[in-house]
Symmetry: C2
Subunit: 159 residues, 2 copies
DNA sequence: ATATCGAATGTTATAACATATCAATACGCC
DNA sequence: GGCGTATTGATATGTTATAACATTCGATAT
């Protein structure tokens, strides 16, 4: 369990490492990390918070990289499919993956106040859900595990 | 773990029981199950499927119970807060609770083809998430556990 | 009975999130 | 160069959700 997102850390190298790994992953897999996609990933990575598609779009537009919703959604679609980003269903928003591509079944701790997000890998949950699914004859393709609440700093702020 | 929603069952009494329990729960808690709210619950209960707010609204409107979005969203808000319904975040849709108010931490199996939903209570998952949250100093207020895939009949249909 | 207050509803408008469609361009390959 | 595919540009539309304010309803207190 990493709590990156709530804890202070060397964020500059956090970003640099991830971009590096994204580059080489794309090279390996024959994926094209085009300028818009690359910039979209940088924008998501800039903060360990969920950002809406239109937030992303606003930044891209300000930089002259396309001003229509499809630009943002296409980039997000690519990043999600490549495993570089996740959609936070409870917020209809997006966040860069904290483990670049190594996620099996991500779980998120989501602050409702500041939208910061910590990502974990919760294999045990999958087992439990798998039991339930098997009993029901249900074929799981994707799982969503999200916990909403308050992060440490927002708890302090509320006190 | 109940797999109501996928398995055949006496749905008429499933509905009647739930409405009964909703009535008495409201009486106990001083909540008002007004005509619109009652009808909204009946509509959700009619199927063990997720229904969009605008689907619900269409039915209410056809019956002369209000034709504007806030009508549906207010009713849904009441039902969710009372524990009579859940929002399925992965679909932006709503479903009646299968355990009327007895849910601690619901988990859902969601068919992407027919939107039928089975509800389970997964206390063990909570423990795992709680461990993660405690380690991060995060205060969980609500959890979302959803598995998307294919229900038994839609698997058969696809075969 | 009637004034008052809070809850619920009616109504209009708009915000926020997401996709369909088709044309134009860039890229990799032969 | 010529071809097929992936990507981008652009317009329009579809879908989900809330803000804001007026009105009505229901219980309570005088
Ligand atoms: Zn970081
Ligand atoms: Zn926070
Ligand atoms: Zn039933
Ligand atoms: Zn199905």
């Amino acid at each position: 369990m990493s709590t990156i997102g709530f804890a202070p850390h060397d964020h500059a190298s956090c970003v640099a490492d991830t971009m590096q790994r994204a580059e080489s992953h794309c090279a390996d897999q024959g994926l094209r990390l085009t300028p818009v996609r690359r910039r979209a990933l940088e924008i998501l990575l800039a903060e360990h918070r969920a950002q809406g598609a239109y937030d992303l779009l606003a930044v891209l537009a300000a930089e002259g990289m396309g001003a229509q919703p499809p630009v943002a959604y296409r980039a997000l679609d690519f990043l999600v499919k490549a495993g570089f980003a996740h959609k936070i269903e409870a917020l209809n928003a997006y966040i860069a993956c904290a483990h670049l591509g190594e996620c099996q079944m991500p779980a998120f701790l989501i602050c409702r106040a500041c939208r910061s997000v910590a990502e974990a890998d919760t294999a045990p949950t999958r087992n439990r859900l798998n039991d339930a699914a098997r009993a029901a004859g249900f074929a799981i393709e994707r799982t969503v595990v999200e916990a909403e609440g308050l992060c440490p700093s927002c708890q302090d702020a509320a006190a």
